[in-house]
């Protein structure tokens, strides 16, 4: 029976090479009767509809495919926060189930407060993995992931308080306050090989806590815009409002180059007696735009803010607001603590010639980036002025308080 199949294949090859049906059939006279209609049909099958795609068809298909490829690439890069792979989740759940059987739930409660480096810490993290594994609702899962991110930040703070040296990883908002780097309120040291992200960027870092209460960053990864990360506590620095006489020595200790910064670093502090989410800060307004204010080098964002007094660069202001999820201070109240300096439209330059009159003007002067050129003056006058300045601004404060 194989013969006729082989004969057909030979005939087909020869026809493909240009031979006609009768010529090839002559080679298989005994099979010719059976093969003839088959071969004729094969010619029809070969001639049946077939056409190359038009250039337009190729282009449309290509666009569709390339678009899907781009989406896939994007989804690969996109960073959904450390989602635990399904297999890992499964493995975690099995190991956790085994652990539960062996030790009972006491182990879990004991591990709840464990910190990195402690024996029960893997139990805590494993249990988190199991909880994530068991949540199928995406929204609930995201909330749980957020909760665990907050827990990581809390652990880092605990380690720093205890002065321990442990390897950690956490996500937060990068900020530079008074020349120092923080991530969601945690002081960090960035090695020189890591590019400093923009203030307000959401990042995830790994590093080590050290006994000096700082996290030494080993690696830093920028998270995309819109990532939800824990904000943490506002940075707590030894803020001097300006009315303290001790501010002079503060300035001296901060370095001679900064002596002209008679304007102390001001960071938002929780508003006493109010909802703890509200913070206030006071400082010199450096620039004003419809959507942002820059106060002591910190950009804040007015949102339907109640504004008292005139706002102009150079004036001392007090603002009250809250931190949004990205770590930005959203300002709901702004109060000018003084009047706009004369010619405030070009305060930076004009103040330098008129600062002998007003303490507040000398504040502005120190803020305009002329520190280096003014070092001599400020080292002499700055300290002398600091009393006046602080007196001035202190007066502003007392007026405000009054």
């Amino acid at each position: 029976m194989n013969n006729i199949f082989d004969a057909l294949e030979i005939c087909l090859s020869e026809i493909e090479n240009g031979a006609d049906v009768e010529t090839v059939l002559a080679r298989f006279p005994s099979l010719a009767g059976e093969l003839r209609p088959i071969l004729e049909t094969s010619v029809k099958a070969r001639n049946m509809v077939n056409a190359d795609p038009s250039p337009e068809t190729v282009r449309r298909g290509r666009a569709r495919v390339m678009q899907r490829a781009a989406e896939i690439r994007e989804s690969r890069v996109a960073p959904r926060k450390r989602v635990i792979p399904a297999f890992q989740r499964l493995a975690l759940s099995f190991s956790m189930a085994a652990m539960l059987l062996l030790s009972g739930t006491g182990l879990l409660s004991a591990s709840a407060s464990a910190l990195p480096g402690e024996k029960l810490y893997p139990v805590k993290r494993t249990w988190e993995g199991v909880r994530l594994f068991l949540v199928f609702d995406q929204q609930a899962r995201t909330l749980l992931e957020d909760q665990f991110e907050y827990e990581r930040l809390h652990e880092v703070n605990e380690l720093l308080v205890e002065g321990r040296d442990e390897t950690i990883q956490f996500a937060g908002v990068f900020m530079i306050v008074n020349g120092k780097s923080y991530i969601s309120g945690v002081p960090v040291l960035l090695p020189s090989n890591i590019l400093m992200p923009a203030s307000g960027s959401a990042v995830v870092i790994s590093g080590n806590t050290n006994p000096q209460g700082v996290v030494e960053v080993i690696s830093l990864e920028l998270l995309p815009d819109g990532s939800v990360v824990p904000v943490g506590k506002p940075v707590e620095v030894d803020t001097e409002s300006g009315s303290d006489s001790g501010s002079g020595s503060e300035n001296e200790s901060s370095g001679s180059g900064d002596a002209s910064h008679d304007q102390p670093a001001v960071v938002p502090t929780a508003v006493a007696g109010e909802d703890s989410k509200y913070y206030s800060m006071e400082g010199t307004l450096q620039s004003v735009s419809p959507s942002t204010l820059v106060i002591n080098q910190l950009t804040v964002y007015p949102d339907n803010a109640k504004i008292k007094g005139d706002l102009c660069p150079g004036v001392r202001v007090e603002v009250k607001g809250y931190f949004d999820k990205d770590g930005g201070l959203i300002v709901s109240e702004v109060e000018a603590k003084g009047s706009c300096p004369a010619g405030s439209g070009n305060s930076g330059n004009s103040n330098s010639s008129s600062n002998s009159n007003q303490g507040s003007s000398s504040n502005d002067n120190s803020n305009t980036g002329d520190n280096n050129s003014n070092n001599d003056d400020s080292s002499g006058n700055g300290n002398d002025n600091s009393g006046d300045d602080h007196g001035g601004s202190g007066g502003g404060n007392s007026n405000g308080d009054g």
Binding site: I4, K44, A51, T57, R62, V65, M66
Partner: protein, 185 residues
């Protein structure tokens, strides 16, 4: 037509795993026409052939994304996937029968009387072809639509060469029978 060398295939697959746009574009340019012709032969509808052929490449991307990328022969994977997609399409279509011959049958050359006859004959062949089993349609599409060798066809259909020889004989015999019936109608 030569069998694709394994070395070439490996390089293509390596590039593909990166979802590199250049590599994807090159793979598309190299194989789209072949996949399209195969699908068009199987279903005889240009619009559907365009959709299904590009769908095959999207399935390839999805497979790479899910870590199910073809391991050896990319062209074989594409033609095999096209065959599955066509079979799915035909199954659905048979559940919802439509007119026998789609109006979008290739009618590329508006033409004189002899061409009209030829077109009529093609319609008849197309109509008879649709009565064949999926496997018979497949072997004819690969052997006579694509012009693949016996060996390539055997590889794509996951069969040995002798089985393909027998299958193509039966497919042609069945087509001839169906054509006889079509002619009488």
């Amino acid at each position: 037509m030569k069998l694709m060398s394994i070395a070439d295939g490996k390089q293509e697959l390596k590039d593909l795993r990166e979802i590199d746009s250049k590599a994807i574009g090159a793979i598309y340019d190299q194989y789209f026409s072949e996949v399209y012709r195969y699908v068009l032969y199987r279903i005889g509808d240009q619009v559907l052939a365009e959709d299904i052929a590009s769908d095959v490449f999207i399935r390839l991307l999805e497979a790479v994304k899910d870590g199910r990328a073809p391991q050896t022969n990319l062209k074989g994977w594409l033609i095999g996937t096209a065959s599955h997609v066509v079979a799915d399409h035909l199954r659905k279509k048979y559940r919802r029968p439509e007119n026998e011959i789609p109006e979008s049958l290739p009618d590329l050359n508006p033409s004189p009387a002899s061409e009209v006859d030829k077109r009529e004959q093609n319609r008849a062949v197309q109509s008879a072809y649709k009565q064949l089993t999926s496997e018979q349609q497949d072997v004819l599409a690969l052997r006579f639509g694509q012009g693949y060798s016996l060996e390539e066809t055997a590889e794509f259909m996951n069969k040995n060469v002798n089985a393909v020889k027998a299958l193509q004989f039966r497919a042609l015999a069945a087509l001839q029978r169906e054509l006889g019936e079509v002619d009488y109608e």
